[in-house]
């Protein structure tokens, strides 16, 4: 597991520095950016979230890209799930805040904030990020295993997950029961499971496994 990182984007140097200081006092690593443009430049074109991370984003940054615009760009790049965004708002613009949360922001925090509560939310976001990363990694593994299955094995597996007994599977695929049993054993072996229930659990989070 890599070191969790908190990205801070705020145009006010004092606030940036103070936040970094606060996070450090809770043993959290932070990276500060003075504008949305700087942050975007750091991301580059092919950024992938590798370590659990979180973004503290100021809504209002006069003279440049606003927090909301940056958020929309990150959403378009599918980065928001792995890198939750917590908005910092200077004045309680409830409507804006609710809209951002509805569109997928992790939370919003009103300035001046109750600092440790904010750090608590940051930690929760990092945990969430870690979970998302783990899930993603597991999905990658299962997908690799699925790649190894033959066409016929995949057909058999689909019917087995649906809970059909071998006899019915054989009738459906117009093959002998014996052949079904062989295929089924090979699927269990390749997927690294011992039962049909375990196989179904493994594939539950897998959206696309070779139709």
């Amino acid at each position: 597991m890599k070191i969790p990182t908190v990205y801070v984007v705020d145009d006010d140097a004092g606030v940036r520095d103070a936040l970094a200081w606060l996070l450090r006092s809770r043993r959290l690593l932070s990276e500060c950016f003075e504008s949305a443009e700087r942050f975007e430049a750091m991301l580059g074109d092919a950024f992938e979230v590798k370590a659990p991370s979180c973004l503290l984003l100021d809504v209002r940054m006069p003279g440049g890209m606003s927090g909301l615009e940056l958020f929309e760009k990150l959403q378009a790049r599918n980065l928001v799930a792995a890198m939750p965004v917590i908005f910092l708002t200077g004045h309680a613009d409830v409507a804006t805040a609710v809209a951002t949360v509805k569109r997928g922001a992790f939370d919003f925090c009103e300035k001046p904030f109750s600092d440790n509560a904010l750090v608590d939310r940051v930690e929760q976001a990092l945990v969430h990020s870690a979970q998302v990363l783990a899930q993603t990694a597991e999905q990658h593994v299962v997908a690799a295993k699925l790649q190894e299955l033959s066409e016929r094995e995949r057909d058999v597996m689909r019917l087995v997950i649906d809970g059909l007994p071998n006899k019915l599977v054989a009738d459906q695929l117009d093959i002998s029961v014996r052949t079904v049993e062989v295929h089924r054993a090979r699927v269990f072996e390749k997927m690294g499971v011992k039962s049909a229930v375990a196989l179904a659990n493994l594939l539950r989070n897998q959206t696309n496994w070779g139709e």
Partner: protein, 689 residues
């Protein structure tokens, strides 16, 4: 205004037209009658002139004829007298030549004589001589038959020793006709003794043709008649009928009297025979021509008159239907003309205005002096501004209203100024509309100001939030470090404390800049009249008062001095207090809905402070008063009892007043409600001088 009022001037248009038509018809008839009379008179005059000319002509001809007749009679007498001499000469030559030879010679010379004889005293014929020009006259009818009168004539001649004449007598002749003859008896003397008579017989026709006829014209006719009119002889063509002129002349011969009748024909083309008639005719023609010209001119004049009347009627209708009031004044300032719109505007009848000098009845009494002055300037010849000027007029019922006046010199046809013409527009309605829209605009400005305040508050909160957030973060972080008992904590915390100090400094800067902004406004203070302050806010106050059905009373002490203030800020304070007061009275349970705004002189400062002269403003309402809980927080910023309020009003008011060096306080009113009052310093005495 109902349109029926505008038509009140002329009572009934159709009736007027009807009357006009009948009047025009009667005028036309009379005019025609006059013309007819004139033509008849002229014709009569012409007729009379022509007739008189004819009469004159006839008279002249008659006179000429009379003269001719006289001349003729005289000629006859003279010829007869000459013949007498010849006859006497005939007697004297005797006896050297025989009488008959001499007599024959005489007869040859005088054709009027037809027969000569010499008789003795007893009238016995001695010698006889006949004219050679005709047969002897007594050949048919013997001489002896026709000498009855001769005796009388000869005896008369003998008595008077002068020739005498017999009566004329008719003697038939051998040619079947007859002759009217006259005997002339001349006594015959020899050596002083009468021997007898020489009798000469005249043919009357011969007398006329020989003695008169030669001098007469062809168109004249001469005849001899007896005294009682029987014609004896004639010469020339007889003239008769209407055209004949006749002159009678008595021809009295010794022993015989006849009448010479001279007739003449008046010439047929005698109508214009002479200059007079021609002149009269020419003049008549000229007169008729002049008449025709006159008639044409009159017709043209009538047409022009009609056009003029039409134009005048159009002008009048135009002036009557005009909404703009028109007023003309002569050079001495008296009103010489007003149109119905003007009368309607001011409510006076035209006869009440016309001829009225200054002060005009529609001048408000309180402005008479100013208007007199203005009129004096105008009458001195100063042209008013082209774009017009505003003035206040008074209706008859005392109502004042604003008018826009355009005035221009009134120049007559000969380029002389005869007065001033003014167009007067009633702009009171527009002014009212403008007032309403201005009030609306002021309300808009007020809300814009409020929005600006909101924007500023938002900006301010952001500016303050940033350092506060940072301070909070440093503090929390430091606490975290202290709790964790980490080894390098002290150094980190020291750093954090530095940062906290920096951020606190930054927040202080924000506050200071706000303060500076407020201080800059101190420069804007000026001396201003208390009434002007109230006047500035009254439209807005009145607007809300009308909405809430509240009466607003203002009472400014008459000699109150001017105050030194930033008027827009103080106006805001007054407005806020008035609004609060009115909102306190909003609701049906308060029967006495009166808001009182008062200003009077007072001493500034409280307690031990030196008393400064000041003006005390107070705004009192009849609302429910202020409860003790509310009173505690009354001046706390952002504390409000109103749903939509920001809670800044009263605290701002107090700040503003205190910045001006005044004091804002409140108290309960004796009869219920609240009085808010504040003081403002008056303008320094030296500045006032």
């Amino acid at each position: 205004m109902p349109p029926a009022n505008a038509r009140a001037g002329p009572q009934n248009p159709s009736l007027t037209v009807q009357t006009g038509i009948t009047m025009a018809a009667s005028v036309m008839a009379r005019r025609r009658l006059l013309w007819l009379a004139l033509v008849l008179l002229v014709l009569a005059l012409l007729g009379t002139l022509v007739w008189l000319a004819g009469r004159y002509e006839t008279d002249r001809a008659q006179t000429a004829l009379e003269r001719d007749a006289q001349d003729a009679a005289a000629d006859i007498r003279a010829a007869l007298a000459r013949n007498v001499q010849s006859l006497q000469a005939l007697q004297d030559v005797l006896p050297a030549t025989p009488w008959s030879a001499e007599a024959a010679l005489l007869l040859r010379e005088h054709r009027e004589l037809v027969h000569l004889e010499r008789r003795d005293m007893a009238l016995v014929v001695l010698d006889v001589a006949h004219t050679a020009y005709r047969a002897p006259v007594f050949s048919v009818y013997a001489r002896s038959n026709v000498q009855a009168d001769l005796g009388a004539a000869c005896s008369a001649a003998a008595r008077s020793a002068a020739p005498s004449y017999s009566n004329s007598y008719f003697v038939p002749q051998s040619d079947g006709l007859g002759l009217e003859l006259l005997d002339q008896c001349v006594p015959w003397f020899a050596q002083g003794r009468q021997l007898g008579y020489v009798v000469a017989t005249y043919a009357l026709t011969g007398v006329l043709s020989e003695l008169v006829g030669k001098q007469l014209s062809r168109r004249q006719h001469v005849s001899l008649t007896t005294v009682d009119g029987a014609r004896l002889a004639q010469h020339g063509l007889p003239v008769n009928g209407a055209r004949a002129l006749v002159a009678h002349q008595l021809l009295d011969l010794p022993g015989n009297t006849m009448i010479l009748r001279l007739g003449a024909e008046r010439g047929v083309p005698d109508l214009f025979p002479n200059v007079l008639t021609g002149l009269v005719a020419t003049m008549s023609l000229a007169l008729i021509a002049v008449l025709v010209l006159l008639a044409r001119d009159t017709r043209r004049r009538l047409r022009a008159e009609g056009d003029l009347a039409d134009a005048l009627a159009f002008r009048k209708a135009m002036e009557d239907s005009l909404v703009t009031g028109l007023r003309a004044r002569d050079l001495s300032g008296r009103i010489s003309y007003v149109n119905p719109a003007f009368c309607q505007m001011v409510g006076f009848a035209p006869q009440e205005l016309l001829g009225h000098g200054a002060p005009a009845p529609y001048w408000p009494p309180e402005l008479v002096d100013e208007y007199q002055q203005r009129q004096a300037i105008r009458l001195a010849g100063n042209t008013p501004p082209r774009e017009g000027f505003e003035s206040v007029f008074m209706r008859k019922n005392g109502e004042r209203f604003t008018v826009l006046i355009f005035e221009a010199p009134l120049i007559n046809a000969s380029d002389e100024q005869t007065g001033w013409m003014s167009a007067v527009l009633d702009v009171s309605e527009q002014r009212r509309m403008e007032e309403v829209s201005r009030t609306g605009q002021e309300r808009l400005q007020a809300s814009a100001r409020l929005a600006a305040v909101g924007e500023m508050a938002s900006l301010l909160s952001h500016e303050l939030n940033q350092p506060l957030a940072a301070i909070s973060s440093y503090a929390t972080g430091s606490l975290n470090l202290l709790q964790a008992h980490s080894p390098n904590a002290e150094q980190d915390i020291r750093l954090a404390m530095h940062r906290i100090a920096e951020q606190a400094e930054r927040a202080g800067q924000v506050i200071k800049s706000v303060h500076n902004f407020v201080r800059r406004r101190d420069q804007l203070r000026e001396a201003i009249a208390v009434q002007a302050l109230l006047d500035a806010v009254m439209p807005l106050v009145a607007l809300q008062a009308r909405k809430l059905r509240i009466t607003v009373r203002t009472d400014v002490q008459p000699d109150v001095p001017r105050v030194l203030c930033d008027h827009s800020m103080v106006e805001q304070v007054l407005l806020n207090l008035a609004r609060n007061g009115m909102q306190a009275m909003d609701g049906t349970k308060f029967s006495e809905r009166v808001l009182r705004i008062e200003a009077c002189s007072a001493a500034n400062g409280t307690g031990a402070e030196p008393q400064q002269p000041a003006v005390l403003f107070s705004v009192s309402d009849h609302g429910p008063g202020i409860s003790p809980e509310v009173a505690q927080q009354l001046f706390t910023p952002f504390f409000t009892t109103k749903a939509e309020g920001m809670g800044l009003g009263l605290s701002l008011c107090r700040t503003v007043i205190e910045q001006h060096g005044g004091h804002l306080s409140y108290a309960s009113r004796a009869g219920g409600g609240t009085v808010f009052s504040f003081t403002l310093p008056i303008e320094p005495i030296d500045a006032a001088l």
